[in-house]
Symmetry: D2
Subunit: 312 residues, 4 copies
């Protein structure tokens, strides 16, 4: 009987590739002044948070994305106390940062208060994080808020939508932004980490290699890494950058650091998994090394509507 | 923004043809012991009532289907007082029958009380009909209820799901059923009308010509007719049958009869429209004349999961 | 096994409704300087001619469209000798016109020589028509060729693509075109007939009612008619217009005229079928009567990419 | 123009997840007595070889799959001379094996001679391999041919379709097969490697963990590894097994071994990439360790129609 009709969420991954996720029910529909907000019960990925009809985060594997976004940078820093999150309205990035015992303050800046409050109310996994007194949430453009901050941060996390044509987010991937606005707000030894878009052998040139190269113009050291995120239908990439060396980890040290510095058990990462994330495959490594494009406001690269996590 | 709207209801019209209707929201999800019940706000067709994931009725054009199902038979009868509806849980068939001033009693038999009550509460267009004291609703198998009825009816209306393999409804399309169970319950001069499935030039052989031929084995006269129902993605067919002659209407007479006998204004039918419905195209007329198949329990024809109106 | 993967041709009927036709094989792929040309073996509709990826004509039901486009106008004319076809590159429109014994000359103007020659070579049903000495084929913009013609025609047939935004065809649906360019080329008593787009109760306002109203500004009489074309997924409409009265036919007369004036047997039309085509349903009739929009170059209405027959 | 390109190949990845690959053209269509054979030019993945409507191998990333299938096992063996390939009709597995300087003989057993000859003629990348005198191709059931072989092999490679319900291939994944038929044909120190199906964090329990556990019942040592294959829409897994220890590689040694033992440059693998493949993520490692299911003919696990490489 269910064969006859099926409710599907269709996503264009590229203009020549799309996928369709079965929808069991729509748990919530609403809108802020910035975007439509939906929470969907999907067949393959459990609850899906959707903004403007795009999947942002899936119950089944958001931990892969968020652990990979947050912990490598915080573990690479000897003692991260102050964290700034650009975007991250869903709260999962803050949740992971707040697991670090050293963290004293997390400032999260997301433009959409309605989304943040929706996620606080509807995503049980993030409830505790939203109540953590160390978390300060600001509703604004992350760029504006970062610029006018008088503080410096140990780790700044870019949990922003992909640079999509027509969207404003690409400004937070430019060399000018990194150099003039972000870098001054990094404390000595500070690390920036950003999500970097698809990083598969057929997709890393869309934006990932450019974001990496742009960061490499501004910081002495970069460390790209990636892993497979099922609900994103691809390998996904992140990039750390700093003026301090970012050493690749030794497994045993990492496992010890995780045990010592992070509350609770991680679902995805351990030393070995993180080491594998940092071992990009040969073709991607070569491609990153060969990339010459630098993001500027006048020369940006864009990705087909596959934004992930918003915050701008 | 329209990129964001990517929720689709996919229906297999045939195994080599499917269509996808944009879904704006899901207004209700529930279940009875017989089936799942959903009410969906669709892009092209307004509210869609779905049973077991199949569209039953669309706000935008259910009047085409239900006026065409009900009025031709009632107008062909000189003075229809007692009506029996097999299925019709949605209430729209009863609504149309109750518009006839002559009608004194409508017995509607649908197996699923939960669906009937859902439609009563959620479909404003049928609210008044459900409150009409002339309507008697029974929750049972229409076959069982018809068999044990001690009354005879002027018009019996088959508002049943298409004969789908594995579904039980095909039993209400067989020669045995028409002959032994239904016909004895028709009052003298009584008329049976049933929905007959797709009736387009490429689809009428699926079941429509067989249902017609089956009725022609049992009744002296049949009158097939059809029209385009957008949300069914095809021309749709109905068949009247009676032992009394079923004359094709003269437009002027029909318009007068509609004005005199039916309360309110019809949305779809007038004399001319009804005359056109009865003028099946040449190829379909030839095909009906050439059909030799007769529905029996052992030799039924089935349609690809495109059931319309349930009630069994 | 075939369940696992399926090749589908996806068409957006509207921005909130699409359908998918199973593809068995691609018989031909090529391109002219105007458009891509493909011939596909489809599951439900046999061979599908596609231009720029849009289905133009289906083996299974092109006769419905082309008989309906051509014969009503030619039968409404007492003695049609000279016919002008705007578009019609496929050849099927010429084929139907040439079946009329009275016809002495058919001028067909299609902009794309490659398409015409492809259809001549690949569509067996039209082979004979292309070899008929009464047929003259010109490769040009139909508007230009009509304007510079020194002849007058008994029937001018618009077998053009729908007015689609960005396409040039909408110019051949404007009041100026009908009045200043087309009408002077009609012989006394001459008739123009054009395809008019979707004409279902939910779709006739897209362009059909406007095309009808535009013709009604220029000609004393119009006669709209429609029928269901399965591969177009909708009811389809045509409009005749003339300064001579266009009487609706009497069935017996029509059958006699078809028998007398047309070679061979028609697949779709007979008197009764044609009469039913001309009996638009009540809602569509009312809607045509209420339409006030007139096509001009500055105020055109467009249809979602569902072009049918090209020729401009 | 891109609106026009609407031909899609739809694959059900799971019953609640499907994806659609744009088709540019169909380069070949044919059939053997076992299956349909098609070669399609796809948008995202270049040429796609399809058997029975299922994608087997994509031009854009088949090297990821085939290098990962072949080289780890051959590099883990000190001096592989004789190789047996179960399936592999496409020729790519043989091609990779033949790049090893030590290899003296490759026996490839595929049931479908027509597929093998098609690939030999149509896939330029494998032309040289098919002409290599060290390659012996047999057309038969791999199980039968392996059983009756009088030789022993250094490496046996399972390049078979996934265990799909109703397909015969699952027999080549059972404990009985590995123990009674395959293991006796391994030379001392010999290694079996097989493709193992999807190995993502949400998919590894479908079959991968069971295949791994089954091999672990029969061999003293197993070594599972995985990587992302874009055209398979998931992380993909392989498993080596042997009675000799299978040590995880040290990067420097591996790079040296690749340079010394393999002709030409690998496209995907180097020491670091291979090391990352072998570092399964924490969740998958735990899941493999916890698996208790063993494949037998009476208790097999099956995967939704997503077979890859046939050969049985």
């Amino acid at each position: 009987m269910s064969e006859g009709r099926r409710l599907w969420l269709e996503e264009e991954l590229q203009d020549d590739l799309k996928w369709s996720v079965q929808v069991k029910s729509i748990l919530y529909q609403g809108a802020s002044k910035f975007q439509d907000i939906e929470l969907i019960e999907s067949g393959p990925f459990g609850k899906l948070l959707m903004l403007d009809g795009k999947a942002q985060s899936a119950e089944a594997d958001e931990f892969v994305y968020h652990e990979s976004l947050v912990h490598p940078a915080l573990l690479s820093h000897p003692n991260p106390k102050k964290i700034f999150i650009m975007g991250g309205g869903e709260g999962s990035t803050a949740r992971e940062a707040l697991r670090h015992k050293s963290v004293e303050k997390v400032v999260m800046v997301d433009i959409d208060q309605v989304v943040v409050e929706f996620c606080r109310d509807y995503l049980p996994a993030n409830k505790e994080a939203f109540e953590d007194p160390r978390l300060e949430v600001l509703y604004n453009d992350a760029l504006v808020e970062l610029e006018r901050s008088t503080e410096q941060f140990d780790v700044i996390i870019g949990d922003l939508a992909d640079p999509v044509e027509g969207g404003p987010c690409y400004k937070l991937y430019t060399k000018d932004f990194y150099e003039k606005i972000l870098k001054p707000k990094l404390a000595p030894g500070g690390i920036i980490v950003t999500q970097g878009g698809p990083a598969g052998i057929l997709s890393y040139k869309l934006v990932y290699s450019s974001i990496h190269n742009t960061l490499a113009q501004v910081f002495k050291h970069t460390l790209p890494y990636a892993t497979h995120v099922p609900s994103f239908a691809d390998q996904w990439g992140w990039i750390m950058a700093s003026d301090e060396p970012l050493k690749e980890p030794v497994v045993a040290d990492l496992d010890a650091a995780i045990a010592k510095r992070i509350n609770g058990e991680l679902g995805y990462l351990d030393g070995r998994t993180l080491q594998a994330e940092m071992a990009l495959s040969k073709a991607v490594r070569k491609g990153l090394a060969a990339e010459t494009h630098v993001y500027t406001e006048d020369d940006a690269r864009f990705i087909h509507g596959s934004g992930i996590v918003n915050g701008h």
